[in-house]
Amino acid sequence: MTAAAPANHAHAPTTRTVVRFAGDSGDGIQVLGAEFAKAVALDRHDLMTLPDFPAEIRAPAGSTFGVSAFQIQFGDDGVLTPGDQADALFAFNPAALKTNVGALKPGGLIVADPGAFSARNLKRAGYAANPLDGDALSRYRLVTVDIARLTAEAVAATGVGKKQAGRAKNFWSLGLCFWLFGGERGATIEWIEGKFAKAPEVAASNVAALNAGHAYGETLELDAGSTAQDTRTAPRHGLFRTVTGTDAMGLGLAAVAALSGLKLTYCSYPITPASALLHFLAGLNGRGVSTFQAEDEIASATAAIGASYAGGLGVTASSGPGLVLKGEALGLAVAVELPLVAIDVQRAGPSTGMPTKPEQADLNLALYGRHGEAPLPVLAPATPAECFHVVIEAARLAMQYMTPVLVLSDAYIANAAQAWQLPDVDALPAITPAFRTEPRGFQPFARNPDTLARPWATPGTTGLAHRIGGLERGAGAGDISYDPDNHEAMSRLRAAKVAGIESTLPCEIDGGAEAGDLLVIGWGSTYGAIVEAVQGLTSQGHAVGHLHLRQLWPLPPNLADILQRFRAVAVPELNHGQLARLIRSEFLVDAQPIGQMRGQPFKVAHLEAELTALLPGAPR
């Protein structure tokens, strides 16, 4: 992958290369993908990955519903999506081929192990005949490699058993990948040796497999395709790591603990795909973080509120079904005006829906899922890496304005990985919660005239003992009040406080034209696809701009201005038009929803077509 070592790989990558791995859950596909991604990143490429887990924990070997896949796009010009279609597919068995060949572009490379295409496996996958024979795959470039057998031979010398020999297939394939697409084996070898430190023979076998796979490609002079070309320009400098949205969100929360000095109290109940964040933070227990696995989501949300009340920062996270359950608790936090960060890693609904698949259909719930008028800020990161800054901002707003803040991520952002240049920690502004300590003049529901926030007075503070609760409170003293004027005033105050929050999240054209024909407004994980679709349209000469909202409520104050600069507005989102509806009602502009509910990210090509149809003058 380094231009300096051409002999090391068949071809330098094209501007963009998309590789997809698919096999049984037990085949180690995700490890293979992650290690390949790391190597790609180490080689200073941009990348975006998308794992595609089966819904079942461990489905029967060879079944179509047990196929685990991983897709990566890498290149050097700001890769932002895992790619619409793959250039190459590694299919470890018939079921993997069957369920993934549709993701391969015509002419793409298929690497398949004929040894895995047994009668039994073919039947399980529903193939009447072996697709490796005949011309079923004639649209593609098929390379069959006896991976299992070659791996077994490669590891024989390390003395591991048959089972481990079978398991090392993924490293053999990774070695072949490195040959085909470039990438240094060093980091992977290091990782293997660390990971299997307690079982050196396993480590040795994996390394042997890795090297053998690479050697195989080299010996046979396999190549990945025809268009390979290295386009890397300015090398980048600094500290990098690959992060999924989960990693970045977890790191952001740890940053909040470091920047504020508070105990970050993370209260959650397991649910896919939000649990990964609990797992991440559980590893940081005692390092500014305290995690609590509650008995359910209601307990997790109320425990987080209790933590904030007591002067920690309460954070709670879930996915759709759990967010619904937290609605009453969030309403309490709005009413008593305590800081809280609530994260929703959206997945396809309604109800249990498709738990491992992304969707953006919880926006309405985030905005309105509480009884009474209970407004709160709603933020949404656009990329995995952005989770870091967005969740820090959420925490800052929560404390500055004494309000729960909702952060909407989704299954795609949470699981997708990208290379991320680490921020300069010393440059991150401190978060200084304004704990009230002065007893004179203390009133629990007095207001900071700038922010309209009430004071944060935590138990233990001398002279500030007071009572709060969900019954309507009188302005100032906070005693229970049924006074009609007070309720009207408090309702307006709560709304005004949220309407007036000033976040540091930008609201400006992300790409394309600053004014013109069509404004494309997106939010959340659709970022990459919209960027690329808008680039496509712009390159065709259309005056199309892309605005990606990170703050969904309150809508940024300058949004009205930006809207005015365009003749038409389109809102692509993975739902039936929830943001579009909000923009329509707030600004009375004819924002056109482009909805998709497939449990999948947008394909760039699809989006480009949909947007083209909305260009002023396009036939409708």
């Binding site: 980091a187 740890a254 509650a294 007591a310 920690g312 003992a465 009572r467």
Partner: protein, 329 residues
């Protein structure tokens, strides 16, 4: 914060809020006991928090001049858990009614007991929904006629103390609103316990379920109809303690004896005896009150703290976390 003893009186725990229970409500007596206990504890008012859900009993925080949080129906135990997670030094009391703790909030109660979160849990049991105007509750006896059960209820009541023991509670006690010696004594024990201390307080809702526990609260009958058990002491009752209970362990039952020497000595570390006391609901026998069960057990937050001592995270430490798995390009 801790250690330091302060001289306060029960009056110091009164707030400026007018107490708004019905005249004659048993909650007044419980409030009185609680304030007395708080004064006796000698902690700073500011280090104490009262947390509640919703209900008549759940109005408690407004009437105690400490920190207070009147939250949402049923969720006080989990909210209180969060308070302890963030600040283990606080003395946290959770007060609620039978619906709050056992209907909507039953699950949270189970889990604070199981985890042994260091809380004082005061279940104010009037066997009725007070605040919502008198519907039958999970502790209402079979046949209770109420607006929601005009023909009487069919479902067997829950026994709070038995439930708490079944859930793994390691401090389980029972007292009653009118017992102004026994109740403070019991609450003091609860407060001293490190872990989830569960106290069921039989309370009289004069409006919707008057005299549900009448025999116990009425002074005249009290001595005959209740038995106060104390660790190591014989289980005696009657005006002059002239009768006793004998534990018949085979079935976990009791019989009355006139021979006080024969009365069973209470052992609050015996789980079988505790369960038998909790389950003893029999018109022919006195109702047990007191600390049924109290055994030391690791409590959740202490275990958590011990495992991962909490220090604020420094930027330097954070950098280490951030850099895990990073590389320099």
């Amino acid at each position: 914060m801790s250690g330091q003893v302060i001289a306060l009186t029960a009056r110091d725990f009164e707030t400026d809020q007018e107490v708004r229970w019905c005249p004659g409500c048993g909650d007044y007596a419980i409030l009185k006991s609680v304030r007395r206990v708080l004064a006796q504890l000698g902690r700073r008012r500011e280090d104490t928090v009262f947390v509640s859900g919703i209900g008549c009993a759940a109005r408690f925080p407004y009437y105690v001049d400490t920190y207070g949080f009147h939250s949402i129906h049923g969720r006080a135990p989990s909210l209180a858990t969060g308070i302890k997670l963030a600040n283990p030094a606080l003395d946290v009391w959770v007060v609620g009614g039978d619906a709050d703790f056992l209907a909507i909030g039953g699950n949270h109660l189970l889990h604070v007991l199981r985890r042994n979160v260091d809380l004082n849990l005061v279940l104010v049991n009037n066997a009725i929904y007070g605040l919502t105007k008198g519907q039958a509750s999970p502790t209402s006896s079979v046949g209770t006629r109420s607006p929601s059960s005009p023909a009487g209820t069919f479902d067997a009541p829950m026994n709070p103390a038995a439930l708490a023991l079944g859930a793994g509670g390691s401090f389980v006690a029972r007292s009653a609103d009118m017992l102004q010696d026994h109740l403070p004594e019991t609450l003091l024990r609860a407060s001293a316990y490190r872990g989830a201390a569960f106290v069921e307080v039989l309370q009289n809702c004069i409006v919707y379920n008057d005299n549900a526990f009448g025999d116990l609260t009425r002074k005249a009958a009290r001595a005959e109809k209740t038995v106060q058990v104390r660790h190591g002491e014989p289980m005696l009752f009657g005006a002059n303690g002239e009768r006793g209970l004998v534990y018949e362990p085979w079935q976990g039952t009791f019989r009355i004896t006139e021979n006080v020497a024969e009365a069973t000595l209470h052992d609050e570390t015996n789980p079988a005896l505790a369960m038998a006391l909790a389950r003893l609901v029999d018109d022919a026998l006195p109702m047990p009150l007191g600390v049924f069960y109290a055994v030391p057990r690791p409590h959740y937050v202490a275990a958590l703290e011990a495992n991962a001592p909490q220090q604020p995270l420094t930027r330097g430490e954070f950098k280490d976390i951030l850099r895990t798995g990073s590389w320099r390009a």
